[in-house]
Symmetry: C2
Subunit: 707 residues, 2 copies
Amino acid sequence: MTLGRGLEAIFSPRSIAIVGASQDASKIGGRPLQLLQKYGYAGTIFPVNKSGGTVQSLPAFQSIEALPETPDLAVIAVPAEVAVDAVEQCAARGVRAAVILSAGFSEMGEDGARQQARLTQIAENSGMRILGPNCLGAVGVAEKAIATFSVVLEERMPDAGSVGIVSQSGNLGSFTMRQAGERGIGISRFMTTGNECDIDIADAIAFLARDPGTSTILCCMETCRDGAKLIEALSLAHDAGKPVIVLKIGTSDAGQVAAASHTGALAGADQVFDAVFRSTGALRVASIEELLDVGHAATIVGSGELPKGNGVALLAASGGFGVMMADAASAAGLAIPELSASTQRRIRAAIPYAAPRNPVDTTAQISSRPEILTEVLSAVVDDQACDLTILLLSSSLFLPRLREVYVRSLTEVRQRYPDRLLVLCGSGPKDILAKINAMGIPTVEGIDAVCKAAAGLLRLRAALSKTHANVEVARAVPLSSEAFANESKAKAVLAQAGIPILEERVASDLTSALTAAREIGYPVVLKILSSDIAHKTEVGGVVVGLATPEALAEAHAGMTTRVAEKAPDARIDGVLVAEMASDGVELIIGTKKDPIFGPVVVAGLGGIFAELMQDVALRLAPVDERQAMEMLSSLKAFKLLDGARGRPKADVTAAAKVISSLSKFAVAHVGSVAEIDINPLLVRPQGKGAVALDALLVPVSRAEGTR
Amino acid sequence: MTLGRGLEAIFSPRSIAIVGASQDASKIGGRPLQLLQKYGYAGTIFPVNKSGGTVQSLPAFQSIEALPETPDLAVIAVPAEVAVDAVEQCAARGVRAAVILSAGFSEMGEDGARQQARLTQIAENSGMRILGPNCLGAVGVAEKAIATFSVVLEERMPDAGSVGIVSQSGNLGSFTMRQAGERGIGISRFMTTGNECDIDIADAIAFLARDPGTSTILCCMETCRDGAKLIEALSLAHDAGKPVIVLKIGTSDAGQVAAASHTGALAGADQVFDAVFRSTGALRVASIEELLDVGHAATIVGSGELPKGNGVALLAASGGFGVMMADAASAAGLAIPELSASTQRRIRAAIPYAAPRNPVDTTAQISSRPEILTEVLSAVVDDQACDLTILLLSSSLFLPRLREVYVRSLTEVRQRYPDRLLVLCGSGPKDILAKINAMGIPTVEGIDAVCKAAAGLLRLRAALSKTHANVEVARAVPLSSEAFANESKAKAVLAQAGIPILEERVASDLTSALTAAREIGYPVVLKILSSDIAHKTEVGGVVVGLATPEALAEAHAGMTTRVAEKAPDARIDGVLVAEMASDGVELIIGTKKDPIFGPVVVAGLGGIFAELMQDVALRLAPVDERQAMEMLSSLKAFKLLDGARGRPKADVTAAAKVISSLSKFAVAHVGSVAEIDINPLLVRPQGKGAVALDALLVPVSRAEGTR
């Protein structure tokens, strides 16, 4: 089935039936009916109510069967107990889509989940698309197709525009729609997916990706029930060149617990979502405010004008505000290059006492001679050292005296430099802001917010211009249980997959260990080999730096005793004698199977630091070597690999190759391998490679058994 | 001179002279005159203008001398060239205070600085207080004493109230005053200090600390020119039980550069300011919005009702919003305890399908039956597991139908539980918010913002209830230059100050080194000793783990060769033979003399990690052992000291003792010691102490010479 198929029946239906239509506009069966009439929906409305008669001055029908024609869309607003039957009747009648506003399904436990499963079945059998249940419905804004009971529409209908809003949470989506209206953002479509018995957020995104009336997609997510579908939908939008800006909530442990209890679905690890958005070119934001600010800015400037680099020119009427802007811009990852000498001269020519370097301080002069803004702003906007200009007007636009002059300046500067990106920071009367937006200048109220929005535009450009890596990995024959037996077997399997390991031998007794050491060459490492011992060091099962046969013999005896004491029940497969290596930086790398999105690959500094400092890079598997390199360089600890404090640079190319190979291996063996740990991967100095010193493979069954 | 003395002449003068009074209200000499009359200042106004005549319908005087009586306050609005003379005349006439709005002083280079120095001189000689120059002036709100040309007053006069606003930046302060008005925060006094030739921000804080009309102080800072004065002022406010909430800008490198160029003053290290605010009980915030939100909340609830713990109950009409609130609360450091079984039963009794654990989700029921809010909110507010409740109403208060019912509910709940802390998150009509605020319920608009404000109240309680440590340190006799000669001398001095070191001997040649090693006992460490070599390892000047006389001899020979090669010009004082120790965690501790605030003490994990991870604790010196312990436990790396991953716990008590001793030593020797580095301090397992393995003392002269 094509993603997002059939959603036009919800957004632009020729006719709508309201099942459970009510006279009372505060009821969920009354509000859509009232709103459709109030805002002038042009199609046919069929109230359905078992009592018949007239509802909100329209003739009502007693059932779906009784309707004079088959409606495109049915809005279901009857209690859960009878909703399923109503939906069945809609499907039988050939209705193209149903929006179930009623609650009382999977969110209410097993009985509700059973009812919801029936809905899923109906959708599958009939091909009718179903939105909800337990959702706040949808709106086709230009069409006034209102299939929602959102109280936000009690206030006013959103302006029609090109921004699509999709949300799992009804209230969150509804609030986003309201705030978008407050900021003058025009909406194309609005959809909330609730329990997602059929249509999910991926369908909604995919539909908007193809919808010619939508240019930007704002998305509020709590969870994901089908990872592959979400990835496909986000990729569709990316390929269509449409920004998808995502607020994914449930980032904290407390939030995830709340989300799980709210949606009844596993929230999924937050970092995995980061990886999903990164790999599909979606832009993740941290708050509703940022969602709206970036969405607004992206829509106003259009994708053609996104900033090419992170250099920002800051212009304020006060040194203090300049300092705050510099702080906020730095925190948002923007650079503040010094303006060129000629720009500085132009500024000083207009205002002798101005601070012209960047941030530019026009001083209080600007409020007694506001007309000088034109020349100063022209000079700044024209400076090629910066990719965009942020002009701070704080609350000046509320003053009629200044407002007129400033708007005239902005008009002039915009005409002179139509290709240069300019963003305004401040507040003002709505009509004035709309006028400024119409010039292609976004307006954002706070200093932190405007810098985050500017950084968002920059990230958006990177996200939209990125090409999919397209690492193809064929499924491999499942690994035999043998491969999971111990370190030696695991390493042998990984070595075949191209991951370097050191020379090592399995030895059943001291004599063969001595032979192995002689062949390998001293010094050697001695390790216990047992499928029952996952953490060898904890039972004294590793001794390093054995330089002589005597030392090896002594270590062998000691280890045998210690292991027998600390792990008396472990079945021992022998010992491992391995080449000794220590010159390098130790990483931990591994893979894990995410229950929603499949294998992910992680990399971090070895030892206790990755854990203490939460310094780990995570991506969806597979990754190519370029992506693996990018993972390594995103670590705070990267400096250690990159030759900090006069250390030799480590062979990061080799390390990236190992990460990529491991990630492909995890995908190829997704059916049999649940987790892989390489701890440590020793990354030697440049040109000398990287080797896995220890490895652990966890089979699918074992990992699932312990979950 | 008493801090903050004489500022009443600025805030509540009986008469005001405007020097440079202008007919044109858009000029800086015209606006104060217009505003004083417009808002009805009750005292006498004397326009001073060299042409005399009538200015803005008041008779003008040609000079200060010509005034019929001596005004309490003179506002100086004439160009810099003549401003100093005018100020001199004011002082001669016995005017109590002058506010210099004119620019063109130290911000304009050397000439301006000379003029400003004359102003400082006048203030000192005459006792007349001077505000500015290059400032936006001051306002006594209740008194309508307007000595400012802030455009914000063109719009409206702030409401009188108990919040004082002080700012170095005029615009920043002015904007804060405006936004405070927008949020219904009443103002007592407003002051901007500009170039601070006499009155500085510390004076302003100290005055407000004693001002009976001010209960909360909001402060915008860019820099500090006199550290001791600021600390005294903040301590005064703390002792008066008044919250001081500080927005210190210039946190980033880019911001500090901008601040330095703007104010012409050294901005100071940002972390040192953190330490200052921490030690004086001031609350630092990160943005104007947070300044206003916390200021508003603190003023509305009053200091008596600040939350006792970090448990917060979250109540929303939507699961999605509940999840967002949980995320935001966690990010702000709040806990979200599960509500008691009886609370949950009460909630379920009112709304059968509610999620009652915390966050509480009332479901959309609340918008069709809004009256149930009273019972649900009562149940939540009454739950003793939480210290405060945050109720999210988002934009519901804009809907008349819901608004009335909700306001009634809030009134009832507040009457039933007057001692329980309740904060509202949402927006609504101003008069409705004011009504809710009047019940003692603060209102904050965004989810992140309300959680930050709640956390701010919590931090405020901690800050206000903290007692000063009062570590007394007497000045010591300055150290002789001898103490700075090399590692051995430095350690000897520190050992006298109570900092443990290992046994070690200075040896001039191999023979005496061998003797020393025999006496100390093998294994030993050998180090080069030279006042010209600060970083011994870089020249191969440290060899550890020497177990035999042969090894020592070999190391001695090798080191001599290497050092001669790599540092041929260094004067060598011999070698150091020291006891070997390695079992423990290595810290770096040290002190540095901040140019504004004096000695600070720092502690971090040794090796490259403190630097890579920016994981360092910094406090004003001296610290007592309790504060030193708190420094250690604030480190991310504290887990390493505290027995992470089965390691033995380290002797943090001993480490804290060393940090405290070192900080006292730095204060005692502030005249001669500029910097101290102990790198590493080896912290051994519990009960085994901590020892300085290496130490460096930098004398004041050398540090200042290299700056």
